[in-house]
Assembly symmetry: C2
Homo-oligomer: 675 residues x 2
């Protein structure tokens, strides 16, 4: 892949520069031919010879490299601030360590299975609450909670408050380069190259990879860890499960009061179903009618009503909500049944997403109390908080006066409990199990205005129009950045931002998430923005994809970009999104893998790589990741791979690593091309 | 759909005939517009108006109708002889009852759920053996077992001995019309019409169908019966299941002798795995390596070796064979675990196929003893016997001298036990659980010679070349015809012929099965023979399709004809073929449905129709079918449908029935067109 400098200096550079270019070229030749991830991993590698790199002029090439590198530097800065993982290889390039210090020979040491980290099971809700000597003053400013000493923001936190002007400048620049013609061409060609290159790799090395997998004792796809990286808690059970649960409750809890009418009248379970004219025996999944069907394709509005069993909002309220007349006990029982199934399967984990709406200040405490009281937790589960973008709705109903109030409801309790855990003890305990925040709504809705400096500040945002995606995301990012810095001082766990992004709608959702988010869910639209697509590759940003869900809502299975993304080496994982609406069997995640497998002829090696990606992307605690991926999992390339845990062949990991390194070398060399 | 007579008499018929044609046309108009399956099923029907029927000349049309009707008459005769189901509607046309006696108004009576047939569980292996007063002499003639009184074939059985000359004549004629240009065009157009017509039907009636389904109390896709109509017993468990079983046995039966070397040395389980260098802990599904992968596509040879766990024939021998050193007890245990899973799911049944090779005379008795001794049976299971077409192999190894010996080994024991159950008591009992015979092998192998009168009779067939598909099938048909007639006299259950057919290979496999087989497995090649394709539709011949299997062996999922067949109203069902090689989850049949559902956007109504088809096609006892499909299930159209059992809306059944009736009316009217 040493194809950096065009043979003839088309720009008419003087002789000396042409000589330098040649010199540079021949150095690269040597470097590229000898670079190997690890010296003891042998497979059939391809060496691309010749001079051209994707056929642009030198100027275009240099500019492309400069823009892409600047974008990576930006992301590094933004991720550094929010305290989010940045992949080691790319980071070493951005930090200027590579390519110079790239080791040419690395030996992979063999590790015996016995050295695996022991797994203690800690007390799920933690022990005593910490008592901090110092507490701070909290105040609101520019839509963010400011942690002050009474007068000004605490100095050690100051760097973590990001100005929206800065974000807007970077965001604007990123949108500009995404639309730059020569850069688009460059990125598109590199992505095409990556895809075809992988196909050749598989043709040449398929058997070697299979043999390597077979040689791994005990481990196979069934007992490698796989995380369902994107699943909504309210639809985490499949429709048959929900049906069975409702039927059971109709029998056992017939005389329980389950709701209160607006008139104040109490209604028992029996009365409720009596009014609907339904006996337990009659109920079927057809009647339940929560499954997505032909009518939901491109109809997200219809899809949302599918959350109502038998089309009745009351049933949704009673069975799959946390805050209702029965204190969410039915939903808690349902979730615990789902968790029990996971624990039984042992190797399946999930990151269920549960809502905080920002409609009132008490939501957090209620949610935390629900979780702690009902003990809704599991070793196989890490919670994600999803914030629906429904400001316009609450504003129209007069629940909220400004967007600042919305942010206040969502973030202030978190700062308070970080400042003093005793302020909301249950929330403090619950947050231990939360790893990330999600922003969620129908992305295909039109956005009337773009986020710019002309937009009002949150406390001035009073219209009933919904702010655009980037406005929501920026303020979530800004609050989380400050919150995480604060929590880091307190030695508490921090939160990543993992929004729904690129499922549909405007392409600038993707530039927003490039700056703000650790990983995203869906990312279908990336295929239409080659520059961001390539940047997502270079920065190895996680994408939790749900092709079965897409197939029912936004994009036919046969047109899903997942197989292309995977070939290109994007960091993609498989997830179910909404088993309640989409899946038929008792094992939705396995069903998702199985369908993908048949559709795209995935090999066992491909499946294990997808599973490994899902664990890497997930927000589970470090001690668990060490146990699941191996003790060196943060090392680059093959040195970080432990086939006895992941069942991914070293060959595959080497291939991925070498390919990424080569792309980055190309860029960093191209930047130095003579003008 | 009243489009029978071209407007202008293109053939220049005299005025009187043109008048008659007009008269005929207007009668049809009335008839077609008023014909409804049942008077109380309302939905949006389409009335096709105008004169043309698929645009051919009157002569072509008349000839097409004549050929198709003759083919249907032939099938009726062949099926009548072997004692196989022929669908009532088509039969009424063939018998001349319709269209004249077609009732224009039918009222569907409502039946309450309570009248369901009670299900007694009979003693699985039957009580005392019957003692027949009269026994017959058996002798071989023309490859068939002849039941004689010592001199000649018993008179009441005489009509059931079919001469191969007769078959060859019909077979040849059928191949000729399959290649007839105008007829091909005609059938192709009708099939296209059927497909598009269905799409319109769904667009117009989808909501009505859904509403009808939702109104059915208690019943949904999960609790309608579905039969896995095509599954090989040796691969009925998925690979994870087999792995778990082998691991368990390695622990519990380490010191059991499991095989004998050729040297006579006895080998224990522990020694066997010791030789392979495998500890129980090490084993993984990757190592087991029974899953089909990219290398098996179009490589049936490779696929067959996938039956060998860890590539070792010994393990196949020990774990998934009935006749081995451990008397097949491991395989029996495995099968019983599979059956237990089915019984737990309650609504899933299967028809596992198990081999009789025809290599030696003792096979039947061994197989029956294995089944009866180990009690390998279940209410959810009906056995099918598969006969691999491996004569050439056994002949080459000198196990067999003639093809007649092959047939002798397969069929003579069946005649003997029918003649006198006491001759092989266990076989008599086992056969109660057998419903059909299958012929199985790689159809894509080239066939050197075609079946003709020039081919030697079975007792003269001594070469090492394999006879063609049609030769095998004819002799299986001929023997089963006589055997079924004999068993009918004895009041014993009879057997259908349900071969693998049209998975690949020559198109004349399909004409063979049209004459000989009740239903077929696969039928992919039908899409290339419009005449047979249309005939399969008219005769509603069952097709057990396995798209996941095809996807791994012969045809990509996206190109599978199943969705087209389904739209056309072919009698198709879904089956798994080989869960061991293809499926990932604990519920292979549900996985198969789920994948089909996502791929082709099947509605709950479509799924229930497929499930209903699978039960209709299956060979389960009448009392079970009555229980599963409703007491009138043999009635035509909507009168035979019981949504409280099948969850298929009456609208769908009406649509299918009316469409079929219209096609048949068209044909029978077209036959009477003036010359």
């Amino acid at each position: 892949m040493d194809q950096t400098v065009p043979k003839t200096a088309k720009t008419g550079a003087p002789a000396r520069e042409a000589r330098d270019a040649l010199q540079l070229r021949s150095e690269q030749h040597v470097e590229m031919r000898t670079y190997r991830d690890a010296n003891n991993v042998n497979f059939q590698r391809m060496c691309v010879d010749g001079e051209e790199l994707s056929g642009g002029s030198e100027k275009d090439l240099r500019n492309a490299a400069k823009s892409l590198i600047k974008a990576l530097e930006l992301r590094k800065e933004y991720m550094g601030r929010i305290g989010t993982h940045f992949p080691a290889t790319t980071l070493n390039f951005v930090n200027g360590k590579y390519p110079d210090e790239l080791r040419k020979l690395r030996e992979k040491s063999k590790r015996s299975v016995e050295t695996m980290y022991p797994l203690e099971t800690p007390e799920p809700w933690g022990g005593e609450l910490p008592n901090y000597e110092r507490t701070y003053h909290l105040r609101r400013g520019h839509g963010i909670v400011e942690v002050t000493d009474g007068f000004q923001i605490v100095p050690e936190l100051q760097p973590y408050y990001v100005a929206r002007e800065e974000f807007l400048e970077d965001y604007k620049w990123l949108n500009e380069i995404s639309a730059n013609g020569p850069l688009k061409t460059f990125c598109f060609k590199r992505l095409s190259f990556l895809k075809e290159h992988f196909s050749l790799h598989v043709l040449l090395n398929e058997k070697l990879e299979n043999d390597e997998q077979r040689a791994v004792s005990h481990r196979d796809f069934y007992n490698v860890r796989k995380v369902d990286t994107h699943i909504h808690a309210a639809s985490a059970m499949n429709h048959k499960h929900l049906l069975r649960f409702i039927k059971k409750k109709m029998r056992t809890d017939a005389n329980e009061v389950v709701m209160k009418e607006k008139s104040g009248e109490k209604v028992t379970m029996e009365e409720l179903f009596g009014k609907m004219g339904i006996r337990p025996y009659d109920l079927s999944v057809d009647m339940l009618d929560v499954k997505a069907d032909k009518d939901t394709f491109h109809r997200f509005d219809r899809f949302n009503t599918k959350y109502n069993p038998i089309g009745r909002n009351e049933l949704r309220e009673i069975f799959i909500k946390t805050d209702n007349y029965v204190n969410g006990q039915y939903f808690a029982q349902l979730m615990k049944e789902v968790f029990a199934d996971l624990e039984e399967s042992k190797y399946q984990q999930m990151e269920p997403r549960i809502s905080i709406y920002g409609r009132s200040m008490g939501e957090w405490v209620k949610l935390a109390r629900w979780a702690v009281t009902n003990n809704v937790c599991s070793q196989n589960v890490s919670w994600v908080i999803q914030v629906p973008r429904l400001f316009d709705l609450y504003r129209a109903k007069q629940d909220l006066k400004t967007f600042d109030q919305f942010l206040d409801n969502i973030f202030t309790p978190l700062f308070e409990v970080t400042n003093d855990p005793n302020s909301h003890p249950e929330l403090h305990r619950f947050l231990k199990h939360v790893s990330a925040f999600d922003s969620v709504d129908d992305e295909s809705k039109t956005e009337d205005v773009a986020f710019s400096n002309d937009m009002p500040e949150p406390d001035e945002y009073k219209t009933e129009k919904n702010p655009p995606y980037s406005y929501y995301l920026f303020y979530m990012y800004a609050n989380l950045t400050a919150l995480n810095a604060f929590r880091t001082i307190r030695k508490l766990n921090t939160f990543a931002l993992k929004p729904h992004c690129g499922e549909a709608g405007s392409l600038n959702h993707l530039s927003t998430s490039f700056l703000t988010s650790e990983s995203i869910a869906h990312g279908l639209m990336l295929r239409k923005v080659p520059v961001l697509h390539y940047l997502f590759y270079l920065a190895q940003i996680g994408i939790a994809m749900s092709p079965v869900s897409n197939n029912n809502l936004f994009l036919q299975y046969s047109r899903n970009p997942l197989p292309d993304y995977f070939k290109q080496g994007m960091n993609v994982s498989l997830s179910t999104d909404d088993p309640l609406q989409f899946h038929d069997t008792k094992e939705p995640l396995m069903e998702e893998y199985s369908i993908a497998c048949q559709m795209w002829n995935l090999s066992p090696c491909d499946k294990c790589e997808l599973a490994r990606n899902s664990v890497v992307q997930s927000g589970f605690e470090e001690r668990l990741k060490l146990h699941w991926l191996g003790p060196n999992y943060k090392e680059e390339g093959v040195l970080g791979n432990d086939p006895s845990c992941t069942n991914v062949p070293d060959i595959r990991i080497s291939y991925r690593h070498e390919t990424l390194v080569n792309e980055l070398i190309n860029l960093y060399k191209a930047r130095m091309l003579p003008k």
